[in-house]
Amino acid sequence: MKSLAELNAIKEKVLKEKTEAATKSGEIKVLVGMATCGIMAGAMPVMTALMQEVEKRQLKNVAVSQTGCIGLCNYEPIVEVLMPDMPKVTYIKVTPEKAVKIINDHIVNGKVIKEYTVDNIHWNKE
């Protein structure tokens, strides 16, 4: 790295790829929490199931990728779906079966599976 300009060039390139992907084919990003907490809870098979389903259905505009811990460790495995112009949807306690359903119902048919989302976490009163 020789200069800030060079660093900025990389930054712009990545950001451009991201926005291009987003506008071109409506890129959908699927993030899987893969920190120790996620992996211990079974994020690996979930990741595999997501990738296989994307592959099987030839979904060219879906990118499955790993990320760190979002903080809700006892609700792992956590999968987040980011669609252009839509609020992020966070799914908790995902299993490989649920993962396949997320691809089918949410990503292909656009229907959020409410029963699986983080909205279902429990709050106790004081």
């Binding site: 990389i10 990545v14 120790t36 609700y75 983080v118």
Partner: protein, 590 residues
């Protein structure tokens, strides 16, 4: 993703536009551009009153002018505190609103954790796209080392590893040294039971620590850094390894970074998981390849540290703050938090709490908010009894202090400490004497054994406490306990021994009646100390279903089918299985 949306409502378009512009300037000033979106809307009710609504909370403010908007941005948007006197509906819109689904994240302020859970930690490009390595570029091309130190000093950042020592000051000591060789070290030993903040940062955003260490290297004039990680964190080590290789490939580590003539490189050292190796002098000795034993300070590491050279050692989370301080400025950073504790703190929430996990809040947030508004409260309708901070070196916070703003000095004031960020929540089923015993057992195991007060004293403390939890304690033992605690604190060499009695002292301070119940009444009020509890079957309730008898691992239950069963106290190992199995609630714990 924006964390908050601000809606400016009114009926006069020109006035609104003006206010939105002002608001945007403020958002810019407090560096919240990526977190807050400002929108304008015409008032639906038709009245002229201008108001400002912050979503997702739905908090509505009146009396909107430049000055009040600045307070809303600073207090509410940056520090998460509602500005009570500007509220449109003070009676209903307080912090006590009903929790909604996204609150877990929205009630936090994610600065150190901003990339965790958002980027792929194994991709340097994704980190760069989030302004990664911009801070390093800035210091190397536009700032002198002294300016970097001054910026960190002005930010008010204090060490997140436990002690809370001002980071800028530490850097300044090392920066001033004329020694040609200096080192930067990162403490990723994280030995407190129940703490996992540093692991999550390393696993979720390893580049932020690497970038910060290079910045620190430039600031003090060091060309070499070591990251000391415990070997029990294999994933963190793997991601760090990969991140270091990527940074080298991009020339962000190595020779002549940003063409500035500055060289810096990093190495990982694995720790074998001894708690005492988290202590700074022991850690540095361990990096040198020697037995990890503490030695007396002074000389402090900033004067004479690794291989006898001036060394700056900081915690993972401390480092993770640095790039943003450089990019957004000391003034911005010091506007977050309380007077003497700036910025945010990451806590690992554990124990009797609904949402076990990682939270980040501005310093000064109350424990009540962390537990109930973010942590989801205590499961199963149980009552909060105490929170333990600072692990084996810290103390407990009882219910009467739930509303104290969490910062370094307040926690010390009530006999606990910030520690590295482990926060263990306890409910009415937890025995505080037993808790103190748990931590003592840990420190007895982990004492390096060099000094007698720590090696022998803590063992004696443990024996005294065990005597109490076994129901053999006397009131004189309580006095002995206290005396011994102070003796150990005063006479141990390192922080481990000096702080080991803290859990005992703080439980004695707030829960003395529980100790007394164990001693005088021979009971454990929480029903946790096995020696003091008995399982019994209430004959009137027992229908003789035989479930308990079949489940008992000790064959302690006798009784024919459909006849009343009985527990043999001598055989019972007090495992509680029978009580869980009985559908008639006929078994009680006394």
């Amino acid at each position: 993703m924006f964390r908050s949306h601000v809606l400016v409502c009114g009926s006069d378009g020109a006035v609104l536009k003006n206010l939105v512009d002002n608001m945007n300037e403020l958002v810019e000033k407090y560096r919240l551009k990526n977190d807050v979106k400002v929108l304008m809307t015409y008032s639906l009710t038709g009245d002229d009153k201008i108001s400002l609504i912050v979503y997702p909370e739905g908090t509505q403010y009146f009396n909107i002018n430049l000055e009040s908007m600045e307070r809303i941005v600073k207090d509410h948007l940056l520090n998460g505190k509602i500005v009570k006197d500007l509220l449109a509906h003070p009676e209903e819109k307080t912090e006590e609103e009903i929790a909604s689904e996204t609150e877990f994240i929205n009630r936090q302020f994610r600065m150190v954790l901003k990339n965790c859970g958002n980027i792929d930690p194994e991709s340097i490009d994704e980190y760069i796209a989030q302004d990664g390595y911009q801070a390093l570029g800035k210091v190397l091309t536009q700032m002198t080392p002294e300016q970097v130190v001054a910026e960190v000093k002005a930010s008010g950042l204090r060490g997140r590893g436990g002690g809370g020592f001002p980071t800028g000051l530490k850097w300044e000591f090392a920066c001033k040294s004329k020694n040609p060789v200096k080192y930067i070290c990162c403490n990723a030993d994280e030995g407190d039971p129940g703490a996992f903040m540093d692991r999550s940062i390393l696993e979720g955003d390893p580049h932020s620590v690497i970038e910060a260490m290079a910045i620190a290297g430039y600031a003090i004039g060091a060309n070499k850094g070591y990251i000391y990680v415990r070997a029990e964190y294999p994933l963190a080590v793997k991601r760090l390894d990969k991140a270091i290789a990527q940074a080298r490939e991009y020339g962000l580590l190595g020779k002549n970074i940003f063409d500035s003539g500055f060289d810096f490189d990093l190495e990982i050292r694995l720790g074998a998981g001894a708690f005492v190796c988290g202590e700074e002098t022991a850690l540095l000795t361990s990096i040198e390849g020697k037995r990890g034993e503490p030695h007396p300070k002074p000389p402090f590491p900033a004067v004479k540290g690794l291989f006898g050279q001036p060394t700056v050692l900081n915690n993972v989370e401390t480092f993770a703050n640095i790039p943003q301080i450089i990019l957004k400025g000391a003034e911005w950073f010091s506007s977050i938090g309380t007077e003497k504790s700036k910025g945010t703190k990451v806590f690992a929430l554990g124990g009797k709490i609904e949402h076990v996990g990682l939270v980040e809040v501005p310093m000064g947030t109350t424990l009540r908010k962390v537990i109930y508004k973010i942590g989801g409260g205590i499961p199963n309708g149980k009552k909060f009894k105490a929170a333990q901070t600072g692990g084996p070196s810290g103390g407990c916070i009882p219910p009467q202090h739930l509303d104290i703003p969490i910062d370094y000095d307040n926690l010390v004031g009530i006999g606990s400490m910030m520690g590295s960020g482990g926060l263990i929540v306890m409910d009415e089923d937890n025995c505080m004497v037993d808790m103190a015993k748990f931590f003592l057992e840990f420190t007895v195991d982990e004492s390096c054994g060099m000094c007698t007060p720590c090696r022998v004293g803590n063992k004696r403390l443990y024996e005294l406490i065990t005597k109490i939890t076994d129901g053999r304690g006397t009131m004189e033992d309580l006095d002995k306990l206290e005396e011994l605690c102070y003796y150990i604190k005063d006479n141990s060499l390192c922080g481990l021994g000096q702080s080991a009695p803290n859990p005992v002292l703080s439980t004695l301070k707030y829960f003395r009646d529980e100790y007394i119940a164990h001693i005088k009444d021979k009971t454990c009020p929480a029903g946790a100390c096995k020696a003091l509890i008995n399982y019994e079957i209430i004959p009137e309730k027992c229908i003789g279903c035989t479930l308990c008898k079949a489940a008992c691992p000790a064959e302690a239950i006798s009784g024919d089918p459909l006849k009343t069963h009985k527990i043999d106290k001598d055989k019972c190992i007090k495992c509680g299985t029978c009580m869980a199995k009985c559908k008639q609630n006929a078994i009680i714990k006394k």
